[in-house]
C-alpha cells in the first residue's frame, strides 16, 4: 500500500466514523438525558450503570465480531456459543497457572479449537453450517463441563462447577480526568453530565481487556475493509467462484476467518470468566454467543453496526441488575425511539412500516404511563425481541454477504 493510499484510507475512515457516529451519538445522548430528567432516574446514565453496561457489552461484542469474521468469509458460525464456553474454561485454566494475559490467550486458543472443528466440517467437508454449529455447541458445552469437573476440584478455590478467585486483567484509571468527570457527572446537568459520566466510566477502573475489545472492533474494520487480505476474505463471502477464478485460495481464507472467529468468541468467554465475574462457572455464557450473533445481524454485518447492537444489548443486560425504576424509564426511551423511527419512515414514504412502528411505539408509551415498574424478565428478553423486530421490519434492507452459509467446493467455478 502506498503512503498516499494509507493517508486517504485513514481520512475516509475518520470521516465515515465521525459522520454517522457523531450525529447518532449526539441525538442519542440528548434523548437519554431528556428521559433521565423527565423520569428522575439518574441511575439511567450513572457512571455505575455505564460501567456495568460496558462490562456486559464486551462479551457480546466479542461474539459479534467473531460472527462478523466468519460470515464475511461466507461461513455461518452459530457455534459461537460453544466456542465461547470453551473460552471460559481456557481462561480459567490458563489464568490459574500463568496469570490473566496468558489466560486470555488460552481462551482464544480454546475458542480457536472450536473454530477449527467448524472449519474442517464446513469448509473441507461441506457440511451444512448450521448443523456443524449445533454439534460444536454440544461439544463445547460438554467439553467445558467435563474438563471443569476433571480438573478444577483439585485447584484452590475450585470445584466441579466453578473456579473462583482468578486474577483479573489490569484496570486502568486516568487520574485527573476521572475525578473531573465525576464532579461534572454528579451535578446532573442536562446532556453535559451524561457525557461526563460516560467519560467517568471510561476513565475510572476500566478493564484493560475492555479497551482491547473496543480496539478489536477498529482493527477488524480496518483489516476487513482496508487491506487486500480483507478484500480477499470478503470476496469469499460474496462470490467464492469469482474469487477462485482470480486466484484467491478460498479454502485458506475461509479457514483463517473461521479460526479468528472462534478465537474472538473464546476471548469473549475469557472476558466473562475474568472480568464480568471473578471466576469460571459452568454455563456462564448463558446464550451470549447467540446474542452476539443477534448483535451482528442487528448491525447489518458491519463493525460499527454490531458495536451499536452490542452496546444496546449490553446496556439492557446491565440494567436488569439495577433497580427496576431505571428499566421503567427505559420504556419511555424506547417509545420515543420508535416514534422517531416511525417519523423517519413516514418521511421516506414507507407508510406501512411507519404505521407498524408507530403503533408499537404508542403501545410502549401507554405501557410506560400505565405502570411503575417492569418485570426483570422483560429486560432479559429485550435483545431477542429487538432482533426479531429488526429482522421483521428491515429484512429487505439488511445486507448479508451474498454467499453466506452456502458451502463451496473447490473447482466449481466457471
Amino acid at each position: 500500500m502506498s503512503t498516499a493510499t494509507a493517508t486517504s484510507t485513514k481520512r475516509t475512515i475518520v470521516e465515515r466514523l465521525t459522520k454517522s457516529w457523531l450525529y447518532i451519538g449526539l441525538i442519542g445522548i440528548g434523548v437519554v438525558s431528556f428521559v433521565r430528567i423527565v423520569t428522575d432516574t439518574d441511575d439511567l446514565t450513572g457512571a455505575g450503570t455505564i460501567r456495568a453496561a460496558i462490562i456486559a457489552t464486551c462479551p457480546i461484542l466479542a461474539a459479534a465480531l467473531g460472527g462478523l469474521w466468519a460470515e464475511r468469509a461466507g461461513v455461518v458460525n452459530i457455534g459461537l456459543e460453544g466456542q465461547m464456553i470453551l473460552g471460559t474454561w481456557g481462561a480459567a485454566f490458563f489464568t490459574y497457572h500463568y496469570g490473566p494475559w496468558v489466560g486470555i490467550i488460552g481462551a482464544a486458543i480454546l475458542g480457536l479449537v472450536g473454530g477449527l472443528l467448524h472449519a474442517i466440517a464446513t469448509v473441507t467437508f461441506g457440511v451444512d453450517h448450521i448443523v456443524s454449529g449445533v454439534a460444536i455447541n454440544l461439544i463445547g458445552a460438554g467439553a467445558a463441563t467435563y474438563l471443569a469437573e476433571a480438573v478444577f476440584p483439585d485447584y484452590e478455590g475450585g470445584g466441579p462447577r466453578q473456579l473462583n478467585g482468578l486474577e483479573a486483567p489490569t484496570q486502568i484509571t486516568i487520574p485527573g480526568v476521572s475525578d473531573l468527570a465525576k464532579d461534572v457527572a454528579d451535578r446532573h446537568w442536562f446532556f453535559v453530565s451524561d457525557v461526563a459520566s460516560f467519560i467517568q466510566a471510561l476513565t475510572t477502573n476500566i478493564s484493560s481487556l475492555s479497551l482491547v475489545m473496543f480496539a478489536l472492533v477498529v482493527v477488524s474494520a480496518v483489516v476487513l475493509w482496508r487491506t487486500s487480505f480483507g478484500l480477499r476474505l470478503r470476496s469469499c463471502g460474496e462470490n467464492p467462484q469469482a474469487a477462485e477464478t482470480l486466484g484467491v485460495n478460498v479454502y485458506l481464507y475461509k479457514y483463517i476467518a473461521v479460526l479468528i472467529s472462534g478465537a474472538l468468541a473464546g476471548i469473549g468467554g475469557g472476558f466473562l470468566a475474568l472480568v464480568s465475574s471473578s471466576g469460571f462457572s459452568t454455563g456462564q455464557t448463558g446464550g451470549r454467543g447467540y446474542i452476539g450473533l443477534a448483535a451482528m445481524i442487528f448491525g447489518n454485518w458491519r463493525p460499527g453496526g454490531l458495536l451499536a447492537g452490542a452496546l444496546t444489548f449490553g446496556y439492557t443486560d446491565s440494567l436488569r441488575l439495577r433497580d427496576t425504576q431505571s428499566v421503567h424509564a427505559l420504556l419511555l426511551l424506547v417509545a420515543l425511539g420508535l416514534l422517531a423511527f416511525a417519523a423517519f419512515r413516514a418521511v421516506r414514504k414507507q407508510v406501512r412500516g411507519a404505521l407498524v412502528v408507530a403503533v408499537i411505539g404508542v403501545v410502549v408509551m401507554v405501557w410506560f404511563l400505565a405502570t411503575d415498574s417492569v418485570p426483570r424478565e422483560f429486560t432479559v428478553m429485550t435483545p431477542y425481541i429487538t432482533t426479531l423486530f429488526v429482522l421483521a421490519l428491515g429484512a429487505q434492507r439488511l445486507r448479508m454477504p451474498a454467499a453466506d452459509g452456502k458451502s463451496y467446493r473447490r473447482g466449481s467455478a466457471g
Binding site: M1, S228, L231, R232, A242, A243, E244, L246, G411, G414
Partner: protein, 503 residues
C-alpha cells in the same frame, strides 16, 4: 503487432469426467494478435476446453503451449501469470463489492487497493472506452457494463490472451456492436482474443480464424473471409443437418390456450412482459423465438401460475385461469417441460419413480386421494422408461446418475402422461444428444397429431421452424412478429429477434 510465435497452441487435449468424455484430441492454434472464434453446439465441449486453458480444470491428455512455451496450468493463478485471462459466460463478479474491489481482487500486488489502482482502472477504462467508475457498487451496473468490467479485469492483470465465453448471449444488438468495437481495439493493441459462440453471424463478423468443435473434439478450421454459414453449420452438426421435418398441419379450430393483453411487472414497476396476446389451438404448435432473456422464461412462468400477471387474462379452454395456482393448472392438464431440468424438472437425488410423481402428485396413477400410490407410480415409470427409451439401470436409480438426454426423455414421458391438453415445452432438446433429440421431436409431433396444443420455446431456430405451425418472435417482453414456418428462414427470424427490419 502480430508476432510469428502463436499465442496459444493446444495439442491433443483430452478430458474425461465420470460417465462422459468431455474433450478428446482437441487441437487449436490461436495466432498472435487475432480474434479466433471457437464454435460448436451446446455440449460440444467448448466450455470444458476453456476451463482447461484457464487452469480451472486440468486435462488428462495433451499439451498447452503459450507464446512458444509449454505450460502446465494447475490453477487460474498460473493461467493469469502465463498471460491468459477469461471472461466467463456467467459473470464472476461480487455484486456487493465496488468496481475497484472486483478489479483488484487477487491482483492486489500490482497496484495496491487504493488510489494507484483507481488511476490504473481509469487508464484502462479510458484507453478502451469502457466507461467504468471505480467506486460504484457492481450491483448498480447493467449487463453490458458488467461485461466491460470483466474484460477490464482481465486487462488489469496484464493478460495478452483473452477468452470470452459466449459474450453476446446476454447482450442486445447495439451492445454487441459496441463489444465488437472494444474487441477490435484489443486486437489492435496486440492482444489475442478467443471468442466462443454458436452464433454464426457474429463469428463471421468478428473473427479472423475459426475452429469448429463437435462432440468433444475439433472437427475443422475455417477462414472467416471465405467461409459461409452453411459450411460452418454443417461442420458444427455433422454432415447432415438434423432438423425436424415439417409435417402436414393438424391445427383444429378449438382454442386451447389464449392470452389476452398479458402484462407482467417486476418489483420496480418495469414491464417484463408487455401486452402479450396469443392463441394456441388443439393440434397446433406455437413456437416462440427470441434471444435469451427477452421474456421467454417470464412468459412460461406466468402461464404456469408461478407469477401473477399485472394485467390481462389467460384462458385455458373456456376457463379464466389467470389467477390459478400452478397445481390447479397442472391438474387441468398442462404438461410442462421446464427450461432448466435440474432446477425445475427433477429431484436429482430421488429415484426415477419418485420423479415420475413430481408435478403429478394429485393425479392417478401417482396418487389415490391423499395417499401416494407407490405401486401405480412405479408401474407407470416402467412404462415411461420403456416407451421413451430412458436408458437407466432401473427405476430406483437416482435421477442425478442419468445423462442429460435420458433425464429429458423421462421428463417428456412424464409430462405427456395423463393426456395433457396443453404442453409447454421450454428448450426441450437443450443439452441432449442427437438421438434423444430426434426421439423428443417425434414425441412432440405425435402428440400434436393427437390434438395436443403445444407452446414451444427454443433457441434452436431449425427446431422451431421444423416443429411449429406458427412462430412468434419475442423481443424485450413484446411480440414483434408472426411468421409462417414454411416461408421463413433462420435469417429472417434472426433479424426479427434482434429488432431489425422484418424481411
Amino acid at each position: 503487432m502480430p508476432s510469428d510465435v502463436d499465442a496459444v497452441q493446444l495439442r491433443g487435449i483430452g478430458k474425461r469426467f465420470p460417465g462422459v468424455i468431455a474433450n478428446h484430441d482437441v487441437d487449436v492454434t490461436i495466432r498472435s494478435g487475432t480474434v479466433h472464434a471457437l464454435i460448436g453446439e451446446n455440449g460440444a465441449g467448448k466450455s470444458t476446453l476453456m476451463k482447461i486453458l484457464y487452469g480451472v480444470q486440468r486435462p488428462d491428455d495433451g499439451t498447452i503451449t503459450i507464446e512458444g512455451k509449454d505450460v502446465v496450468l494447475k490453477s487460474p493463478t498460473e493461467a493469469i501469470d502465463a498471460g491468459v485471462g477469461m471472461v466467463f459466460q456467467h459473470f464472476m463478479l461480487a455484486d456487493n463489492l465496488t468496481v475497484l474491489e472486483n478489479m483488484v481482487l487477487g491482483a492486489e500486488k500490482l497496484h495496491g487497493i487504493g488510489d494507484a489502482a483507481r488511476t490504473e482502472i481509469r487508464r484502462i477504462s479510458d484507453r478502451f472506452g469502457f466507461d467504468l467508475d471505480p467506486d460504484v457498487l457492481v450491483e448498480k451496473l447493467g449487463v453490458a457494463a458488467r461485461q466491460r468490467l470483466e474484460i477490464a479485469k482481465v486487462l488489469y492483470r496484464g493478460a495478452r490472451i483473452i477468452i470470452l465465453d459466449e459474450p453476446t448471449a446476454v447482450l442486445v444488438p447495439q451492445e454487441v456492436e459496441a463489444l465488437f468495437v472494444n474487441l477490435r481495439e484489443l486486437k489492435d493493441a496486440g492482444n489475442s482474443v478467443l471468442f466462443i459462440s454458436h452464433k454464426l453471424d457474429e463469428v463471421l463478423a468478428i473473427a479472423d480464424d475459426i475452429t469448429v468443435m463437435r462432440r468433444g473434439t475439433t472437427v475443422g478450421t475455417a477462414d472467416s473471409h471465405t467461409a459461409t454459414k452453411r459450411q460452418l453449420a454443417e461442420l458444427m452438426v455433422g454432415s447432415e443437418l438434423p432438423s425436424p421435418e415439417t409435417e402436414e398441419s393438424t391445427v383444429t379450430d378449438t382454442v386451447e390456450l389464449s392470452l389476452d393483453g398479458v402484462t407482467l411487472t417486476d418489483e420496480f414497476g418495469r414491464n417484463l412482459l408487455t401486452d402479450l396476446s396469443l392463441k394456441i389451438r388443439r393440434g397446433e404448435v406455437l413456437g416462440i423465438a427470441g434471444v435469451e432473456g427477452n421474456g421467454q422464461s417470464e412468459l412460461v412462468e406466468t402461464i404456469m401460475g408461478m407469477r401473477i400477471p399485472s394485467a390481462g387474462t389467460i384462458k385455458l379452454g373456456d376457463q379464466d385461469v389467470t389467477h390459478w395456482h400452478t397445481r390447479q393448472l397442472r391438474e387441468a392438464g398442462i404438461g410442462y417441460i421446464p427450461e432448466d431440468r435440474h432446477r425445475h424438472g427433477l429431484l436429482l437425488d430421488a429415484p426415477l419413480w419418485e420423479n415420475r410423481i413430481l408435478g403429478h402428485q394429485t393425479r392417478p396413477p401417482s396418487a389415490k386421494g391423499m395417499w401416494i400410490n407407490r405401486k401405480g407410480a412405479r408401474q407407470d415409470t416402467e412404462r415411461i422408461v420403456a416407451d421413451y427409451d430412458v436408458r437407466a439401470p432401473g427405476i430406483d436409480t437416482p435421477a442425478r446418475a442419468l445423462s442429460g438426454g435420458n433425464q429429458q426423455k423421462l421428463i417428456v414421458g412424464r409430462e405427456m402422461s395423463g393426456d395433457p391438453v396443453l404442453l409447454i415445452a421450454s428448450h426441450p432438446t437443450r443439452g441432449v444428444d442427437v438421438g434423444a433429440q430426434a426421439a423428443i421431436w417425434d414425441h412432440i409431433k405425435r402428440a400434436r397429431r393427437a390434438g395436443l396444443a403445444v407452446l414451444l420455446i427454443s433457441a434452436d431456430l431449425d427446431e422451431l421452424i421444423g416443429l411449429s405451425d406458427t412462430i412468434q418472435v419475442i423481443l424485450r417482453g413484446r411480440f414483434v412478429g408472426t411468421f409462417e414456418p414454411s416461408k421463413v428462414t433462420p435469417q429472417d427470424l434472426g433479424t426479427a429477434m434482434t429488432g431489425g427490419e422484418a424481411a
